[in-house]
Symmetry: C2
Subunit: 350 residues, 2 copies
DNA sequence: CTGAAAGCGCTTACAG
DNA sequence: CTGAAAGCGCTTACAG
């Protein structure tokens, strides 16, 4: 064995190809292809020679050529409205983790508009990679992408809890945030609060209001015979939570608030602190997600832990299966949400 | 014009190729190639016919075939230790934004080990895409990737403020966090604090301690003739900040603490609150980054705003230039950090 | 200004 | 078990 072919090379000479390996091993490039693809019908001694040549030359199969010849690449493109908010970032982390373990490349493509040409362009670019696609479809751009995706495209989606059972064969996954919202709302009612106000994250549906999280909240109130206040329009971040908090702090009837996510809750807590409204003494506050900051706020935040990283891993697993077998897979929920009780919720006083 | 070739198609028939366009337009596929590449020497009428056929068939150039033929693809792979912590997530956001505007695909590859085979594998996979590479090199895995990258690889790095002027032609960018650390430390000293304690983020260097941020902090203390306390080992997240905070809260001599990032500061504030140490009454606390939560904590957090999204955009711009012209580019700092004064820092009392 | 030929590095039938 | 041929969809010289 020579010591020449240092993997990674000096950038000077071009990378070894399948033919270089073939001539080094004294076989045809076709046989090399069989070896690198683990094809069974290769004599052991031949295989050994080829493998030695591969190691010697530091050969790596060109993913590009492989993709062109096969018409399919080992990669996945994630279509997501953003990469920074907790749930999205964590889902992306889970996808990358699973993809890396399977030696898939992962591409990201931020989809921040639901205009048809924009969505079509994003889909076409994703399709152009020859890999699979994972759509994070919690908002209109994502839902639009699902609607506009061509039929044959290998595609998996993370969606909100479907209002009704999805069509069989829809490759969808979700966490049951409707049930989670119901649970946290019941917790609040159980503490003696007459009702629970809701600060909404932006929603998929035309009707607005945080869709399934709002639906679960509403269901719990209704089941308990509690009045259902108008949801307060929120957003994704602390600034919107702060705005909502200033509004709610003015109303002395408000004793319990559920926020559509922990970032909103952070801003809301700040607004309550400024207004001199004690949490949880006067008002209980709960969030959603169990984002990294939730446990360390003062007061620490009662919230619902959602396993977005697990959701991301499930998305990839589903897509991987779909890419291998081509068979449609059953939609299914993943990783049950869990209520985390902390300091920000307490019994109603007075 | 027929209405058949609906872009995106029905997944049924395969995508139109350059030859399909050619025969539809009555030219050779070579001429189609000229048109899609904006080659000047094509008769206007020919160009028009080809463009009509392209629109009609919904033709899109195969990125894969293009990459194979050219030996280079229009994509960038980001090598980063993680995708979720604020600075990394924001840098990634900036990269994606700039890349999308230039019609580049962006891939991500998390590099969480500095073991040589792991780093080589990540580099090889990135190189295999035929695109450029951006390394986020704030820690050992990233620095190792820079060391092991083959010479010819089109590569740009986001690095810590270099201790000495980097070799000319190093395609590096950074924010001047050393100067930023100096500035916030001076602010604290100016409030009357005898010294400033430092909770470190993990560092690149063997010596540990947050490298350039620590260096700036130390420089400011030394310049002021203040004692230099041993830095407290922190980490990336609130949990580590909490641990450090419990330790520092025990020492009554501690009146000012600088945290290597805002997530650490969050945990530290919690620890101080639990210990009954008033901020900023008894102790001043400052952070780094101006992460989204900083402005909404109680007390709100004095910090240094670092423009990571701008850093990400600068990385892509540099790489894009490098990919086009092949000329080496000068290393340079981007977006000056800015001190943001909030409630968590105040004059020393007693 | 335009076309015929060869090639990028693989894989997929088809022979033997 | 192994090789010669054709092809994936583009681009790059080379002719004309």
């Amino acid at each position: 064995m020579s010591v020449s072919g240092h993997a990674g090379g000096t950038g000077g000479r071009r990378a070894a190809s399948i033919r270089d390996v073939a001539s080094a091993a004294g076989v045809s490039h076709q046989t090399v292809s069989r070896v690198i693809n683990g094809h069974p019908s290769v004599r052991a001694s031949t295989r050994a020679r080829v493998e030695a040549a591969i190691a010697d030359l530091g050969f790596r199969r060109s993913a590009t050529a492989h993709a062109l010849a096969r018409g399919r690449s080992e990669s996945v493109t994630v279509l997501t409205p953003n990469t920074v908010h907790h749930g999205y970032a964590a889902a992306l982390q889970g996808i990358e983790e699973a993809a890396r373990a399977a030696s898939y490349m992962v591409g990201i493509s931020v989809l921040d508009s639901d205009r048809e040409p924009v969505v079509r362009e994003a889909l076409a670019r994703a399709a152009g990679t020859g890999g699979g696609v994972i759509v994070i479809a919690y908002d209109r751009p994502g839902v639009r992408a699902l609607e506009l995706a061509p039929a044959g495209m290998p595609l998996v989606a993370a969606v909100e809890t479907p209002a009704e059972p999805p069509p069989a064969g829809s490759p969808w996954v979700w966490t049951d945030d409707r049930e989670a919202a119901r649970e946290v709302t019941r917790h609040l009612l159980g503490l003696g609060h007459r009702t629970v106000h809701y600060v909404a994250i932006p929603s998929t549906t035309r009707t607005g209001g945080g869709a399934q999280r709002a639906a679960g909240w509403r269901a719990a109130l209704t089941a308990a015979g509690a009045p259902v206040p108008e949801p307060v329009a929120g957003g994704w971040g602390p600034a919107e939570g702060y705005t909502a908090g200033r509004e709610l702090a003015r109303d002395p009837a408000v004793t319990a608030v559920l926020c559509g996510n922990d970032a909103l809750a952070l801003g809301l807590l700040r607004a309550f602190a400024e207004a001199g409204r004690d949490v949880p003494g006067e008002v209980s506050v709960a969030g959603f997600d169990d984002a990294p900051h939730a446990a360390f706020l003062t007061p620490s935040l009662t919230t619902v832990r959602l396993d977005f990283a697990g959701l991301g891993r499930a998305c990839f697993a589903l897509l991987h299966g779909l890419l291998q077998q081509g068979e449609p897979v059953a939609p299914h929920p993943v990783a049950a949400p869990r209520l985390i009780l902390r300091e920000s919720t307490g019994p109603r006083r007075g």
